[in-house]
Structure formats: structure tokens, C-alpha cells
Amino acid sequence: MKLLIKNGRVVSPADRLDETLDVLVEDGRIVEVGSKVEAAADRVVDASRLVVAPGFIDMHVHLREPGFEEKETIRTGSRAAARGGFTSIACMPNTFPVNDNAGVTEFILSEAKRVGLVNILPIAAVTRGLKGEQLTDMADLAAAGAVAFSDDGQPVGSALLMRRAMDYGRLLRALIIDHCEEKSLTEDGVMNEGRASYLFGLRGMPAMAEEIMVSRDIILAEHLGARVHIAHLSVKGALPLVRAAKERGVAVTAEVTPHHLVLTDAACEGYDTRFKVNPPLRSAEDVAALTEAVREGLIDVFATDHAPYTAEDKELEFDRAPFGINGLETAVSLLLDRLVAAGVIPLNRLVEMMSVNPAALLGLERKGRVRPGADADLTLLNLAKETVVDAARFESKSRNTPFHGWKLKGLPVQTIVAGRVVYPFDE
């Protein structure tokens, strides 16, 4: 099976490429990249006026299966990812049962294979049942296919246990992904603490809760020589901590979500639960600082924290609704419009943050690049096309997006996984 992608603008920062080229794919791998590739192919994709990027990887997704299939399944989540331009997604372990043993990891991988659309990379729990009491069998989970470890949403509160996880994890060069939240400071909170929360009378989640945990994790990682990745960094005060740690050579990396870059806590006026998310939407000052950190290259990765919830889950008083924003099908357009088209970052930086860096962090050696030998995972973008976000057209089983109706410039138009066009869907 040969696929030839012709005349695309290949943007692959890992290969120092940004030029119009053809890409030839055979048996799931890229075999040739060059101008005017002449080859008999089973299928030819005309990529004129399109960008051909190494496949986008979302390292922070909640797929809900097993256990919460009413919100999302591996199938619907895979379809949402494909439509959103992602060729690989890493799924968090807060399912039921929790992905804290090789059996669950294997189930996810076998279901992903059955669905056969995008690469699903399971993230295993740090502690059994996400209870923060006892470590999971990390080596066993890694052998089963877990690409990283996280107690996302139920962050490890005990410094001792986090120390042990990082220390023991060195055995595997494990990546620990931490949702940084000192829970004693955010108890009962439903939005960012600050002027807006005081105005709306909603209980606040202060920035210091995130900063304290970012600090703790950096200190532990530095002492132990471990790797830690800060999930959905959202506050200004965490940035100098990460910057200083990186300067000292600590193996710390950080991701931000699109929603933390384009929305502020003022959006909670009106008590619309689609804006309820954790970490909460922060102040305009935080958003400006985060944007600047993206621009200067301090932030490594864009990730969605795709958190699907049904209408019933979200149709509640603000206090009672669950935290989460549906992100897979809006992320790429939001970032292309608000960051690339707006001139905050060039396109190749976006590709680094959505493909090159997540591939490196998750140890995916054949991904994040467009060169012979690499996996033929490619994301094709149309930068000129305008789109209007329509939640009704989501492939995700849930529709909990605050971006419905937003007009955005630039969108993913084709998603290729292992040399097969998985989006537009073949049906």
C-alpha cells in the first residue's frame, strides 16, 4: 500500500523543513520526502495549498472508557481526535476501573486497535485506584504499553509518595505528569479565586494552590534526577518557577491548553457550566503571561485536557457541575487562529509543541518528524479556510464546548495515521 502526498508545504521543524515537497508513504512508514517524487502509488493526495505536518499528538485526553461510556468511548474519542487533526492521543487513567494495572492498559490498547483510527497511548495511574496511598506496578504497566504516569484530577497529595513515584520511576525513565493542585487550598472551589469570583459569589481556587505544587514537583524532580511534566499550567506565578528550574537543568516540562490561552475567568459571569474547568479559567493577567511564555518558548506542549461530559452532567447549578471542557475538535483551529494567524508564534513552533515535543516526551522515536523511516502519521492543515465551531457536528459523544459559534481561521483537513487517511472518514 503506497500513498503519495503531493505538493504540500511540509513543515517539520525536527527535519528543518518548511518547503513544498512530496511525501511518499509505504507500509505505514515514510519512504521518501522530496520535490517531484515520481512513484506509482495506490492513492495520491493533492496537498496543494495545504500544510503537511508530522502528526499532532495530544498528550492529555480523557477517553472515559472503560466505565463512563455515556460520555465518550475509545471509538468516539478516536473519531473526535481524527477530526481534530490528532494522529495520537494519550489517555488519562481516571476510568472505571482505573488504569492502574496491566489488564486495563491492555484492554485500552486492544479496543484502540479494534477501532483502528488513531494511536491511543495509555497513561497509567501513579497510585492504585488514584487513591494516593500505594504505587502502581509501574514497570509492569510500562511493559504493557503505558507511556507515562499520572494521577490527573486526583493529584498525589503526599510529598513522600510523589518522591517515591519519581525515584522508583527512574528505573524506567518514567515521565510523571502532574496536575498541580494543593487540594487543601482549593477545597469546594469552583472557579479562579480573584475579583471575578468575589463578584459572582463563587468559591475560589487560588493560583497559589497550583504554584505550591509546581514548586514541590520541581524540588523533588531536581533532588531525584527524575522527569516531571506539569499538566495544563495555568497561572502566571508558575512560569518563573519552571523557567528557573529549566535553567538549572531540571527535567521539567510543561503544557498549556487552548482554553487557558483564549478564555478568562470573566467568562464565568452568567454561571454557564461550560466554562467550569479545572484548573479554572484564570485572570486576564495570567492569560497574557501564559501567552508570552508560549511566545518565548518556555512552554513545551499544547494539550487539550479533553474532558467530555454529557448534557445531563453539565446541566446543573455552577456549584454542582463537573469540571471539564471538550477539546479535541476545537484545539487546532483555536491555536491556528489565536496564536499563529495572530502572529504570536510561527507555524513551525506550533508543530513543535503539538508533535515534536510530545513525541519526545512520550518516547515515540519514529513520530514528530517527516523523514524516511518515520511513522507515516501526518496532519494536513488548511490555514486559509474559515470555520465556525458547531458542537452539533462533534464526533465526540459529548458537546461540552464553550467555543460553539466561534469563527476561526485555519483547520485540520486530513489526518493520516500509519499511511492511511483516517479523516475525512471513509464512509
Binding site: 480573584g194 475579583r195 468575589y198 463578584l199 459572582f200 459569589g201 463563587l202 468559591r203 452568567g270 454561571y271 445531563e312 446541566e315 446543573l316 447549578e317 455552577f318 456549584d319 454542582r320
Partner: protein, 312 residues
């Protein structure tokens, strides 16, 4: 009359003219409550649902009496939020009740934004009778009415609101209301219960009750909840009392003509000493009395307006 709202959700979105329209209407309503026959037919045929998802006696009874004095039919619905948690959602509960064709919904709920939330799917007029820690507009209106009774004018008045500002819907609504009417508002309490950001809403923020009281015209005390002590917002009732209890000695710092207000229920001997609560300077019971007139005015302006215009 200058009042153009479909709902009464909070004071923040009202204009000063709208607030004054409520107060002026309440003046004429007050007279009805002093008659031998305390009832007028103004809202005959209107149905009001009094939805209390949080314990309340005075606000619920006040709305009930206000509706009855205007001849509206009012039905009380009380349910603790926790009971609702077990079964149907708030939305379903309200949709069920609204299917019985009420004209207005009066709602008290522990969640901030609950009244706003109702307006997203209800067709009735919604009146916020207190939503979580957000707003309690009729309390602020009755407080303003009481202040106007005593002081005639708002311009230049110094109003000191003291207590748990952070968690108080009464403080928020009063802060907006009194500032719109031209009064100077000083908020007072320990830093844990009064974040500095409140300055950005206009009032002065003080942590020193004695200083704040200097030359005050109105001293408004808020109920302090024991739960706040359990969560370490302040160390002990003893210490709170030492710093923020309104005592006769402290009250001397205010103007001679100053009045004492409290939205109730009172913790005697905690935020206010018993002799202060009962003193001649206290207008606490007048606040309760005025509550009925102000709520009559609100019901009339929301429900009676159209018919009145049609009759004209």
C-alpha cells in the same frame, strides 16, 4: 415609573433610577400594611411560587405576606438542596413546577447563580431571594428603604458594613445598591473574610472596626457563622468579639445620629451586643417591617406593570 426588568436577579444590573422606583413604590405599599384590611386586589389572579431550597423564615414569610396583601396566590415550596441532590435536578424540579403556570418564581438557593440559571429555561419572572454567596437584592432594597426613611438622603452618608463580607450576599447587594444611590460604603472585617480585591468594586476596605466607625451614619452588622471559625477564617468567637462586635463603647465613635442595622438572624453577643441590638438606635425590626413593603413593590413592578399600562 422607571423600572424595565423582567427579573430581579441582583442589584448590580439595576440603575439608580430603577432602585429609586422600587423605593418610591414601596412608600405607597407601606400604607396598605397599616390599614385595618391589609389587602388590595392589584395582583388578583397572579400566581407566585415561593421556592426555598435553603432554610429561611423571614424572607419566605415576607414574600408570602407581600404576595397576599396584593391578592396574588402564593404557594410555598421548601426543599433542602440535599434532598434534591438525591433525585431530580433543579432544572427538572423547576420545569415541573412551572408547568403549573405560575407568573413568578421567587427562589432562594445555596448555589450562587441559581436565579440566573432559572432564567435560561423559565418563562416566568424570576426573583432572587438570595443565591449562595452572590446577591440578595430585596434585602438591599429594604435596607435602602429603611436608610432613606431615617436619613432622607443617601448623598454623603457613610455606611459601614462589618462582618463576613466574603461569604455575604447581603454585603454584595448592599455595596452595589448604596454606592449607586450615592452613599460612601466602608467594608470592614478580618482580612480572611474581606479580600483586598473588594476595593475594585468601589468601597473602602478596612480591617479596623474602631477606625471604620468614625463618623459613620449607618452601622450595618452581618451575622457571623460558626462554620467560618471551624474553617479557620478567624481563631475564636472570643477574638472575633474583641475585634468586631458592635458594643455601646465602640458605637460612640459613630455619629450621634447613627443607626444600627442587621439583616438577621442575630447572634447576640457575637457580632452585636444585646443592648445594641435592642437600643433606640437599632432599626432592625423596622427593616423586617419594611421588607414586606419593598417585596410588595418588587412584585407589583414585575407583575403588575403591563396590566397597569394596558388599563391606562
Amino acid at each position: 415609573m422607571e423600572f424595565h426588568q423582567k427579573h430581579l436577579l441582583g442589584i448590580e444590573q439595576l440603575t439608580d433610577a430603577e432602585i429609586l422606583a422600587v423605593l418610591d413604590t414601596a412608600e405607597s405599599m407601606a400604607e396598605i400594611s397599616t390599614r385595618e384590611v391589609k389587602k388590595v386586589p392589584t395582583l388578583r389572579g397572579k400566581t407566585i411560587l415561593n421556592l426555598f431550597f435553603e432554610a429561611s423564615t423571614r424572607t419566605r414569610s415576607s414574600f408570602e405576606l407581600a404576595a397576599k396583601r396584593l391578592s396574588a396566590d402564593i404557594v410555598n415550596f421548601s426543599q433542602s438542596t440535599s434532598a434534591v441532590t438525591k433525585g431530580e435536578s433543579l432544572r427538572d424540579t423547576i420545569l415541573t413546577l412551572e408547568a403549573m403556570n405560575p407568573d413568578a418564581l421567587v427562589i432562594r438557593h445555596s448555589a450562587s447563580g441559581a436565579a440566573h440559571y432559572l432564567t435560561t429555561f423559565c418563562r416566568s419572572h424570576v426573583i432572587n431571594a438570595g443565591d449562595g454567596q452572590h446577591e440578595h437584592p430585596t434585602q438591599a432594597l429594604l435596607d435602602a428603604f429603611t436608610i432613606r426613611q431615617e436619613k432622607k438622603n443617601f448623598k454623603g452618608l457613610k455606611v459601614v458594613i462589618t462582618g463576613d463580607i466574603l461569604h455575604s450576599r447581603v454585603a454584595r447587594s448592599n455595596m452595589f445598591c448604596l454606592q449607586k444611590l450615592g452613599a460612601q460604603v466602608v467594608l470592614c472585617g478580618p482580612p480572611t473574610l474581606l479580600p483586598d480585591e473588594f476595593r475594585s468594586f468601589g468601597p473602602e476596605v478596612s480591617h479596623d472596626f474602631d477606625l471604620a466607625l468614625e463618623d459613620a451614619d449607618v452601622v450595618m452588622m452581618l451575622r457571623i457563622q460558626l462554620e467560618r471559625m471551624q474553617k479557620s477564617f478567624f481563631p475564636s468567637l472570643r477574638e472575633y468579639r474583641n475585634l468586631y462586635c458592635l458594643t455601646p463603647e465602640r458605637f460612640k465613635r459613630a455619629k450621634k445620629s447613627a443607626i444600627i442595622m442587621h439583616p438577621g438572624p442575630i447572634n447576640r453577643g457575637v457580632e452585636i451586643s444585646a443592648d445594641m441590638a435592642d437600643s433606640a438606635k437599632s432599626v432592625i425590626l423596622k427593616q423586617v417591617e419594611n421588607g414586606v413593603s419593598v417585596r410588595m413593590a418588587v412584585l407589583y413592578l414585575l407583575l403588575g406593570g403591563k396590566d397597569r399600562e394596558a388599563a391606562d
